[in-house]
Structure formats: C-alpha cells, structure tokens
C-alpha cells in the first residue's frame, strides 16, 4: 500500500511537471512568493517614499513601472502589495480548505442525523449575509488584516463543505467504497485513503477558484474603502486606484492588473495540473 502510494505521488509530480503551463505557473508562483518574502531587502525604494514634485510619471529608468500620483515607485508598491494579497489569498483559502474538507467529508460519509445537523449548520451560516458581516466587523474593529482573512476564510469554507459532501455522497455509493466497507476497512481509513483523495478533484478545482475569489473579495473591500490601512497597499487597492485614472495614467492600472491576473492565471493552471495529476482515473488512461 505504502509503496503504491508513493509511486502515485511521484507519478503525479512527474505529470505536473510535464505539463508545461502548470510547470511555468508553479515557477512563477514560487518566484512571486520568494520575492514577496525578501521584498524589504530588495525593493528599489521605501514603499512610503513620495516625490510629490514628480507626481504620476510613466515608466522610466528610475522608476521601471512608473510612479503613482504621489510620486511613489509603483514597482515597490506592487512588491509590498503582493505580500498582503498573497497572504490574504492563501491563508484564507487554507482556513476554508481545512474546515470545509473535514466538515464535508464527515457529513457526507456519516449520513443520517449527523449529516442533517452538520448541513443545517452550514445552511444557518449561509443564511447570514456575510458581506454585511465583514463590513460591520471592519467598521467595529478597524482594518485588521488577520481578522479580514479569518472572516473571509470562515465564510468561504461553506461552499467547500457542500461540494465535498455532495462528492462524498456520490462516491460512497460506489462499488469500491462499498467493497472496502464490506471488507471491514476502518471508517477513518476509508475517509482518508479513499474518500478524500477521490473527492479531491472538484475540491482542488474549487480551491484554485477560491484563492482568486478571496483576492477579489479583498479588492471589493478596498473598493468600499475597507481594505488595508495606507500607506500599505494591496494589489486590490492598487487596481482600484488605477481603474479610477486609467485614461490618464494607464500604467497604474495595467501593471498591477497584469501581476494580479497572471497570479490568478498561474494558480488556476497549477490547480488544473494538480487535478489531472492526482486523479487516479486519468492515471489509468
């Protein structure tokens, strides 16, 4: 069993790296994360440094990506912004993923009363219009970053749980699970060895969709003025500022949008690659 597992994982890794797009995406994301981490040491300027007399200037040799309306270096601000955006995206998704998968699997696999109660709880939470919740939270406790992604993560796990559950329900009626049950394999074993890996396809697809969704949600909050506290910035905030003046200062919209979209692209391609790679059934082909 162990041996088979590791070769499956190796296979998956090989398949992932042979998919060129996914491979490059992975490299891009890794690079981005590394740059985000070492930004304070390599950023060309201080993120708050202003050159008011310069104002908004197009890309030049001094400022590779130009400057914003306060004469701050856009590249620097994007590098610092990436820290915030990536952190919000990944941490909130992890929160959502962990809670959602565990919750959905247990509910789907247990069935009956436990399932009913667990899904009622999900429904209850669904019924709470979360945008107002987040707005109220931000208003009451100020712009707190940790609170922000906890709140988003705590909301996003609901859909994850539903998808996992419906997937598990589908799977648990299938022959190989029934067979495993009949053979007396323990429930935990079934959940972790069979159900979760087999339910992973749509979950990973959804998780890769969740990261951009959360990054987008952050940009909506920025749109409402509830984003991070200046002079810090996030990509969402930069894009929002850029969108306002896109006719005058195109670089303020184009570069942050490109970085943002490229990141979301890459995350999605990685998700796709992973999906194909870990799906045992595509392995058969």
């Amino acid at each position: 069993m162990n041996k088979q597992e590791s070769s499956l994982f190796k296979d998956a890794l090989i398949r992932l790296t042979t998919n060129k797009l996914s491979f490059f995406s992975l490299i891009y994301i890794l690079l981005l994360v590394v740059v985000a981490i070492i930004t304070p040491f390599i950023a060309p300027y201080d993120y708050a440094y202003q050159d008011l007399a310069l104002g908004a200037s197009a890309p030049s040799s001094d400022h590779l990506l130009g400057t914003d309306t306060l004469g701050r270096d856009l590249l620097t601000r994007m590098m610092y912004g990436s820290r915030i955006s990536l952190m919000v995206g990944f941490l909130a998704t992890s929160v959502a993923l962990i809670i959602g998968v565990i919750w959905g699997t247990i509910a789907g696999f247990s069935g009956g009363k436990i399932d009913a109660i667990m899904m009622r709880i999900v429904d209850t939470l669904y019924g709470i219009p979360f945008i107002i919740l987040i707005i109220l939270l931000m208003v009451i406790f100020g712009r707190n970053l940790i609170l922000l992604f906890l709140a988003i993560g705590a909301v996003e796990w609901l859909t994850m749980a539903r998808i996992v559950r419906s997937q598990v329900l589908n799977l648990s009626k299938q022959e190989f699970i029934l067979a495993a049950e009949a053979m007396g394999v323990s429930k935990l074993n079934i959940i972790f060895r069979h159900l979760i890996p087999n339910a992973m396809g749509p979950v990973i697809v959804y998780a890769t969709l969740t990261v951009p969704q959360i990054m987008l949600l952050e940009s909506f909050l920025s749109f409402l003025g509830l984003g991070v506290q200046p002079p810090l910035s996030s990509w969402g905030l930069l894009i929002r500022d850029g969108a306002v003046s896109m006719e005058e200062y195109w670089w303020l919209l184009i570069f942050p949008s490109l970085a943002f979209s490229l990141t979301l692209f890459s995350l999605n391609f990685i998700g796709d690659g992973l999906r194909d790679a870990i799906d045992p059934r595509t392995a058969d082909n």
């Binding site: 669904y126 539903r162 749509p202 969709l209 006719e247 979209s261 391609f269």
Partner: protein
Amino acid sequence: MLNLILQRLFTAIPVLLAVITVTFVMVHAAPGGPFDEDKAVSPEVMEKLNERYNLNAPLIEQYTDYLSGVLVGDFGPSFRYPSRTVSELIFTGLPITFELAIYSIIFALLLGIGTGIISALKKNTYLDYIPMTSAMVGICVPSIILGPLLTLIFGIWLEILPVSGWGDLSGDKILPTITLGTAYAAYCARLTRGGMLEVLNQDFIRTARAKGLSETRVVLVHALKGGLTPVIAFLGPAMAGLLAGSFVVETIFGIPGLGRFYVEAAFNRDYTMILGSSIFFSCLIIGLNLVSDLIAAAINPKLR
C-alpha cells in the same frame, strides 16, 4: 421532497432568529450613531431623535420590540430616509437586484455550460485551451476593472450603450449583466468541464459508447446529468453571491438595487434598514439553496 421543503422551512426559523440577533448586536456595537452629522447636532435634538426612534430604551427592550414588530411584518421606519419605511425601501430595491441577478445567472449558465462542454469534449485542443483561458481571464478580471473598462469601450469610445441607469435608456441593462455575469460564466465553464471530464471517464459512459450510441446522445443525455452536478451545487451559492455581490455593479452603474441600499445602510448606521435587509437576504439565500438542492436531487437521485 416535500419532507425536505418542510424541514428546511422549519429550520429557517432559528436561522433567521440567529441572523437577527447577530446583526442586532453588531449594529449596536458599531461606533457612530445614525444621527451623527457633519454639522454638530445639539444634545437636545439628539435626545429627541433617540426618543422618537426608541433608541433610549434598554437594548433588550429594543430587541424584543423589534422582534414583535417583525412578527407582524413591521420592519420600522428607515433612519436615513425619515419619510420611508424599511419595507418600502426593500420593495423598491429588491425587484431590481433580483432582475439583475437573474439576467446575470442566465448569461453565466448559457455561456458557461456551453463552453464547458465543448472544452471537455475537445480536451487538450485549441477548442479547450482558448475558452478555458478566456474563462480564466473572466475570473481574473474583477468587476471593479471590468465595469469601468466596458463602459469606457462601449459607452465612451463606441458610444453605443448607456453608461448608467437601469431601464431608463435602451440597452442600459446589457453592461451591468455582462459585468456581473462574466465571472460566474467562467466558474460555470470550469466546473462544467471538470464535472464532464469526471463523468466521461466513468464506466457507464464507456459502456454507452461501446453500445454504439451517438456521441451527441452520450454527451447530452448521459454525461450531462452527472457532469452538471458541481454546477448545480454551485448554483445556490452563486445566486446568493450574485445578490450579495451586486452592490459593486450597482454602484458602478448607478442601479437603484437592494445591494446598494444594503451597503449604504451599513455606512449610514441605518439600524432598521440593516436588520430588515439582512432578514430579506437571509430568506432569499435560504430559499435559493433549497431550490438548488431540489434541482440537484431531481437530476441526481442518489443525493436524495
């Protein structure tokens, strides 16, 4: 099925009670009151206002008063618009938001499912790559960029569509629908593709193919049922997301929908309006999830 409906309606009560309580507590905990204005209001006037809107009473009393009002369908007067009641505001905004959401979801489903099926069938060809890449563009471009961009192109440069309004000028519903629906179309496309690929690999499809059924029949009759399961699971939340997320699009295009009222109410500390619309959104979301579950159960009997 009737059982499911009754059960859901029954559990809706504690859900709504929880929503009211949580919102009530948060609203009253929020700093700043509904009557704070730029021009400082004298303490006497403030006292009068608080008295008029029952804000001087102990919180518990305000809470029970509010609940007993809701029970008889009285959501109170709006604090922000003194001559209007909350019900009036909600019924002004709700149909518009609902219309916008419906158009967007139809747009998303048509575009998304169609694209998703083609991509799944033509896996790893250009008919897969191009639509899927476009879908990702759709997901990756937030409405706060897409909206202004579309208005700039179609409203200012080409001058063929109005940039603002809802139902006033011909064609003013097109841009908001596209802006709101695009991301959801992209999700639908991806989920459809994922679901279809899953199903197309399963034994019963292979059997059907082996039996010599036409590919169209295999795809549209046999595979689509299972393949759409993720899309349908996504539908309820998507609709809820559309409703709650419509405020951005409503703000960009100046649409007088409930989403905008809702967010404005939070900023204005319009307590009764926040509570009232929370209740309405909750009801809608509960209802939509129920409908989505019913459809899922109808399509896929295993889920019953």
